[in-house]
């Protein structure tokens, strides 16, 4: 027996209270407003920079050295300096970060007080302002025990210290994302702990570790304060020739140009900001792609 006539919805389910719908709608509106505030501020900044900077962008801008004349000035030494720094940072943070993450995640006995202390300290270090690392770098790397001087190596080591805690933390998360059943499976086959880690857990976590490393590098690229403290030069009319060479970097070049009284230099600073942003967007895109493509869904 079927009834052809359907009863009105409100008769079956009851009348929804009007206040519910109103509250829902206003909550969504509030969230949208707050989100758009952040987005609008960002958009204004980007548009303002683009208006000033885009006309300055040219091949000669990318391939010229800084100059006292705005029309001749460029950022080649800043770009190469930044690339050198990236190289040093990568070279330092990958082995140190992965080894520390492996130790803390796989070997350290979390019930021991010193291991817990290391953990808490690493969490804290990740939040320490980068200028503090600059002071550290100045006292112990540029001068002091290492006495490397105001060189690419000193700058790179200082930046590596800034991002190392983040690399360790993301590395641990990547290792933890590999389910324990993978380790159990390897051990049950007669693998040693080292074989299980080296051949199964580490390869499975490489996409996550790489994502953390790339994001850390992109953070290091934007750092200015520690480089100012370790005394990177702001006017360098040559490319770095090696690890012991003086250098400048993109954020330093931007900082130096912005503090010039001449408006034309500020336009150049805007152009350099665009270059820096493009590099960061590319790095972040690579990181996201790596994560989406290779991350294992367990």
């Amino acid at each position: 027996m079927t009834t052809a006539t359907s009863r009105p919805v409100n008769e079956v389910l009851g009348v929804p209270p009007a206040a519910h719908r109103l509250r829902d709608t206003s909550f969504v509106l509030l969230l949208a407003t707050l989100t758009s505030v952040a987005l609008i501020v960002l958009a204004v900044l980007l548009i303002d920079t683009a208006i000033d900077g885009v006309p300055q962008l040219s091949l000669s801008f990318l391939t010229s050295f800084p100059s006292a004349f705005p029309a001749k000035a460029g950022i080649e030494s800043a770009i190469t300096g930044t690339l050198w720094l990236m190289g040093v940072v990568t070279f330092v943070i990958v082995p140190l970060g992965v080894a520390s993450a492996l130790y803390l995640e796989e070997f350290a006995d979390g019930t021991r007080w010193w291991n817990r202390m290391i953990e808490v300290n690493i969490q804290n270090l990740a939040a320490v302002p980068s200028i503090v690392y600059g002071i550290l770098g100045l006292a112990y790397i540029v001068r002091g025990p290492l006495s490397l001087g105001r060189t690419v190596l000193a700058g790179g080591l200082t930046l590596a210290l800034v991002v190392l805690p983040v690399v360790i933390i993301t590395g641990r998360e990547a290792l933890r994302a590999v389910p324990p059943s993978i380790k159990e499976g390897a051990l049950a086959l007669g693998a040693t702990r080292w074989q299980a880690i080296w051949r199964q857990i580490l390869p499975a976590s490489i996409p996550g570790i790489a994502t953390g490393v790339i994001l850390s590098i992109s953070r290091a690229i934007g750092e200015t304060a520690p480089l100012i403290l370790v005394g990177a030069a702001t006017f360098v009319a040559f490319n770095p020739t090696g690890l012991d060479s003086p250098f400048t970097a993109l954020p330093l070049q931007i900082f130096s140009w912005i503090s010039q009284p001449n408006d034309e230099f500020r336009m150049l600073a805007a152009a350099a900001i665009i270059v820096l942003l493009v590099i960061l967007v590319i790095l972040n895109a690579v990181a996201i792609r790596l994560r989406n493509r290779y991350q294992q869904r367990w």
Binding site: D109, E184, G185, A186, G190, A191, R297
Partner: protein, 321 residues
């Protein structure tokens, strides 16, 4: 005793087994465990009944057992999980551990390949003898133990790699000699998976169905030619058809390996196993005070048709659990 084929076959083998020196006869490629053969006491295969706590638990002798546990107790931290388990696991047969959840059957099976070592708080007391060797003896390397005793887990856990690499991992870490292609093919054939996957050996194992993944894990365990296969609820995550295929597989495999299976599923124990051990959980005052115990152990047909213990009878007839 029993009149089914596997048992009489094993009895025949037992006769030819009087010489304990012929120990690794079925695994020519398996690596020798140092100190294993000399440590087998000559009298062991003939010992009729190992000393047991519950006299009524074991009603017949097992000749040439693979595992003998004596008063095995496992505790996590300060709370005991399983108490006083004494049983013998026969060779080239399927032994099932059944019982309600929390009764410690998985804990016991994990003592057989020292997987409990991975849990820092776990403490094992009593003895587990493997062909007469005390697995928890001071000079035993747990890695050497696991080379001989394979394990399949509750949830299929293939490595996030190709099917081929999944199988090849064990033989590689063990340094097995010979053509890896051949080892992989043989292992897949033994797990009756070869025809399903021979054209996609390089594909990621995660693309397989759950049942195929579990058979891959079985093949992976077989690739190292283990002496024993431990299966910890291998079918609990699988559909009935995949479960049936794995049960068929177990019947084929017991020609060459001894199998211990933990299962929730009484019917499965009745279908596949030669011997069944029934565990129970003693409800304590709190969650932590739950203690697993072995209630009854014997030939599967007797456990299911003529259990000696009232608790076994109630469990197998479905009154609780």
């Amino acid at each position: 005793m029993s009149h089914d084929d596997p048992l009489s076959a094993s009895t025949l083998r037992d006769v030819s087994d009087v010489d304990p020196a012929s120990d690794p006869r079925d695994e020519p490629a398996a690596p020798a465990v140092p100190g294993q053969v000399p440590a087998v006491p000559a009298g062991q295969p003939h010992a009729p009944v190992p000393s047991v706590g519950h006299r009524d638990v074991i009603d017949d002798a097992i000749e040439n057992p693979v595992f003998v546990t004596e008063k095995l107790c496992v505790s996590y931290g300060s709370s005991p999980a399983v108490l006083d388990v004494s049983l013998s696991v026969p060779e080239k047969q399927i032994t099932a551990f059944i019982g309600p959840s929390g009764c410690g059957k998985s804990t016991i099976i994990r003592c057989f390949n020292r997987m409990n070592d991975l849990i820092p708080a776990a403490r094992v007391e009593g003895t587990v003898r493997y062909h007469g060797v005390d697995l928890y003896g001071g000079d035993i390397d747990s890695v050497q133990v696991r080379k001989r005793i394979g394990m399949v887990f509750q949830k299929p856990n293939p490595f996030p790699k190709s099917i081929y690499d999944n199988i090849a991992f064990g033989p590689k870490v063990l340094g097995m000699k010979g053509s890896m292609d051949q080892i992989v093919e043989q292992a897949l054939r033994r797990a009756s998976l070869w025809d399903d996957v021979k054209d996609r050996l390089k594909d990621n194992a995660f693309g397989m169905s759950g049942g195929q993944q579990q058979r891959l894990c079985i093949a992976r365990a077989l690739a190292t030619n283990p002496d024993v296969l431990l299966m910890d609820e291998p079918c609990s995550a699988l559909d009935p058809i995949s479960t049936g295929r794995i049960e068929d597989l177990m019947h084929e495999l017991k020609e060459t390996v001894s199998i211990v299976i933990v299962t929730h599923n009484m019917q499965q124990a009745a279908r596949v196993s030669d011997r069944t051990a029934f565990f129970i959980v003693d409800m304590g005052s709190s969650e932590e005070a739950r203690i697993g115990r072995l209630v009854e152990y014997g030939p599967t047909d007797r456990i299911f048709t003529n259990p000696h213990d009232i608790r076994t009878e109630e469990y197998v007839s479905g009154k609780f659990g």
